[in-house]
Symmetry: C2
Subunit: 127 residues, 2 copies
Amino acid sequence: MARQATYRLGDLQLRIMRVLWDSAPASVADVQRQLGGDKLAYTTVATMLRKMEDRGLLRHCEQGRRFLYEPAVSAEDVTRSMADDLVDRLFEGSLSATVTHLLENREVSCQELARLERLIQQRKQGP
Amino acid sequence: MARQATYRLGDLQLRIMRVLWDSAPASVADVQRQLGGDKLAYTTVATMLRKMEDRGLLRHCEQGRRFLYEPAVSAEDVTRSMADDLVDRLFEGSLSATVTHLLENREVSCQELARLERLIQQRKQGP
DNA sequence: GCGGTAATACTACCACGGTAGTTCCGATCG
DNA sequence: CGATCGGAACTACCGTGGTAGTATTACCGC
């Protein structure tokens, strides 16, 4: 697997990706509606979609004169990329340092602890 | 403990904070040197320091006509803030989702797994 | 064909991270 | 005293995320 781009998305961009990941293809109006109606101008959303397509995050195809947008990168790619970026920037790539920090600084329920435990056991079996 | 600011630092800003965290107080020249010498212009570093002071990340005091800078926020605050930000943005605040993702997408050595296991055991005892 | 409407396209604006040039001040040295 | 030098200050510039207004185009109903 070759090297891949590192995505650093702003808040709005991430929200837009989320909309598209779970209901692509979507028109500008669709996206705007799902972004919370009239909080953002229609043209704002349209502009953002265009810019994001320029960056390769999205694709569009035309249906009549409507543009239908869909993601060009997967949620996994973006999530991994952003998470990796943080782990590298903040913890010099050390996963255990990251998790240590999270455990020490956040409220963790017993349920979550148990889930984590199971996760690690599982990870110890499988390669 | 009252609420606290959420810091979102760029790369250079983070590198500067790191320099100051482990060798404050430092002059502009000191910071520039530790940032790798001539990769960044002296004035660039100075500008960045000034902007960061405006944002409350740093403080300075004058020694003769030299400015000596020091952090105004702790490494812990910044790290926690940035980590929380990511967990919230990417995983809706779910710690286990975050860790799950990290485990699934990164190489993890046996050592690291063992360390994580110990960490969780430990966390299960203490409150 | 004509006017209205719904869609995109274009353009502009602000804030901010990052980069750097130019200026200005004070001290020191010949 | 006057030139030079080190340091900070000021200003400008570029890229990009985010916001939105205006222009243009293409269809639709009459």
